[in-house]
Symmetry: C2
Subunit: 395 residues, 2 copies
């Protein structure tokens, strides 16, 4: 048994924020159907890099789903969509606000068809407010939502986090919204509308920035790799030209650091003995540390810090991460197989449940791989009816 | 009614990843009790910046909780903890692996006391594997988990995302784990252990990096603000020295961009007409765009792009975000009041549910603010018993 085996999900979404939400629900056991336009399917399927003719980008966000095609623009396709909605617990969409309405499938229609259904709508700015129809991508939300302002060297140009972090975060909030609605349904017997905006999600990540600004007018900005609360805590370069991050800033960690590196005399020095004092002298403190790291290989730095119990990591490359023994021991790489494209290795399932663990049940599907199967399973269609859907180009 | 009103949560956690998980459950309606050591409470309460004597850092992650004190180290405190666990649906902890065991409160003990309870354990590297006892902070997980490798200028030094993003992401996965376990409990009547590792969560954010490396050996690395899949799509500087992010890279968006900026002739030019061609000539393409932005104010750039339907945002400062009309219209700033520290403005609740919306029920509490109230509510204690707990220094 898996935790979400009782849930049926219709995933109409594209790109990352929607598909990743559906995938996580699938990882935890939901029956998730990825619905795409007939033919080429989701437009991102054509993006490089590819495995065979299949864009890896789309495959990454769609494991543990079955894929069917449906013509969103034809009356026959829209009628079929409503039949599927009647069977679904959850519908995920991230069209531009207004698009679902054009498909004759607005929230009022969905409730009428299936009052137990929950509709998750993911968009850049939300379903309400003056910006609701503006287009948005991850980097746009990082720019407008504060993450770019906070990322980059001190005094340098603003930068995004190097992954689609707001897409990911929004997908995680969407899962929490879905599961909250499902929990409420055990009491109310009714579904609800879940409205997620990337911009709202962005500002939930800003630490103390908002209350600080409201109170004092002080605007938090970027500061490189330096910790905001203690020192020494930042990236340091080692003798072998590799970077490590060391956090020895707290008054519990600093003594361990200096003892392990032959600098115990600093504990006797009033200028450095407490974090409060050290924060007044960041360049000197970081200077001591970097003098040591520049004379020491990254391997030796890691080893010394690990023995001393000081948090430290090399800034690992993707290849090094791929071989990380801890991730390997925890089964955090999984291989998937599909006759269409062969074998693919994906990041694993980070949510580890002891009694109903997530599992790989479906490799990422290709366009329409399970159309017939889903029509049989969800709607009890016979071959004649499936043929009819195909002839009317509903699928 | 709120979605999670039926859930009682005992939050033993510190810093961000644990507390933020408890807070989100509280935002959605759970009865969340923040348990801290008597006296100064969670050590982060002393961090600057402060409102009065109260560190804002801790307040930010603890709204919608009630706070009680409990002496984790004394037999009386540990006995009280077990009484509370008997009443809880969910227990959240992010001590170093092994600490809960020392408190005579390991998973086997918890199951024995309350077989319906779910224990969420959040740590740097997880409860299993060779690295399980290593200390970790957010930046350490960003370094070891790939995010630093992917963030920064092309060819420049690695940088972290400028917020505690892995703490946040881990807290969101923890919420999904909790709610999955609660959904499973409707079938099994039993709780379970949920094991979250920051490192596992980190590598779930790496886009196509892992499958690409496994297939081809190619290691994704940092590339500034540039989109990986299309061009033009990156940060551009404007005439007023402000930065904007424009994404006009796709073959749907590029024509809108060039028409809006008087460069429609590029559509006739084979070298730039398709994204595939443009990706071969990124410097030239970005050159055209930045020539235009450098001659145009950021306000005019945003206005032109918005009218053309091209995704675009200024890189807003925290102050600008605080005044953002869309966030204001969506109620994404909330004011909290506590006699101890006055008024504080926080980011709102990004999960918008139509029927059982989240709400602010408790301002972030100060240490032990609700100890007596919780002992009465959860355990039905009378004044004499509360006095006894206080005399034995259990609370």
């Amino acid at each position: 048994m898996q935790a979400l085996n009782n849930l049926k999900v219709l995933d109409l979404s594209r790109y990352i924020a929607g598909p990743n939400c559906g995938m996580i629900l699938g990882d935890m056991g939901a029956d998730v159907i990825k619905v795409e336009s007939p033919g080429r399917g989701e437009e991102t399927r054509l993006l490089s890099p590819k495995i065979g003719e299949h864009g890896i980008y789309t495959l990454v966000y769609n494991r543990n789903k079955r894929a069917m095609t449906l013509n969103f623009r034809s009356p026959e396709g829209q009628a079929l969509l409503r039949e599927l909605i009647a069977e679904a617990d959850i519908i995920i969409e991230n069209f531009r606000p207004g698009t679902l309405e054009k498909m004759n499938c607005d929230w009022d229609t969905i409730r009428e068809i299936n009052e137990r259904a929950t509709l998750v709508r993911i968009s850049g700015y939300g379903q309400t407010g003056p910006w609701s129809s503006k287009p948005c991508f991850d980097a746009i939300a990082q720019a407008g939502g504060g993450l770019m302002e906070l990322t980059g060297e001190e005094g340098g140009e603003p930068l995004p986090a190097g992954t689609f972090i707001i897409d990911y975060v929004t997908s995680l909030y969407a899962c929490i919204g879905v599961l909250s609605a499902i929990e409420a349904r055990h009491t109310t017997s009714k579904g609800q509308l879940v409205d997620l905006a990337m911009l709202d999600c962005s500002i939930s990540l800003l630490m103390t920035a908002i209350p600080e600004f409201a109170l004092t007018g002080r605007e938090l900005t970027r500061g490189g790799s330096r910790d905001r609360y203690s020192t020494p805590a930042c990236n340091f370069e080692c003798a072998d030209d590799r970077w490590v991050h060391i956090n020895a800033g707290s008054d519990a960690l600093f003594p361990r650091f200096v003892r392990a590196t032959g600098m115990a005399h600093l504990l006797e020095d009033d200028r450095y003995a407490t974090n409060a004092e050290r924060l007044e002298r960041i360049p000197e403190v970081e200077g001591f540390v970097s003098e040591w790291t520049r004379a020491t290989t990254s391997e030796k730095v890691i080893d010394t810090m690990t023995k001393a119990g000081v948090p430290c990591s090399r800034i690992d490359t993707i290849g090094e991460i791929f071989h990380n023994e801890q991730l390997r021991a925890r089964g955090q790489f999984i291989k998937v197989q599909n006759p269409a494209y062969g074998e693919l290795t994906l990041a694993g399932i980070p949510i580890c449940l002891s009694e109903t663990p997530g599992a790989l049940r479906h490799a990422p599907p290709v366009v329409g791989q399970h159309t017939d199967e889903v029509l049989r399973d969800w709607l009890g269609c016979d071959e004649a009816r499936i043929r009819e859907y195909r002839e009317t180009q509903a699928i």
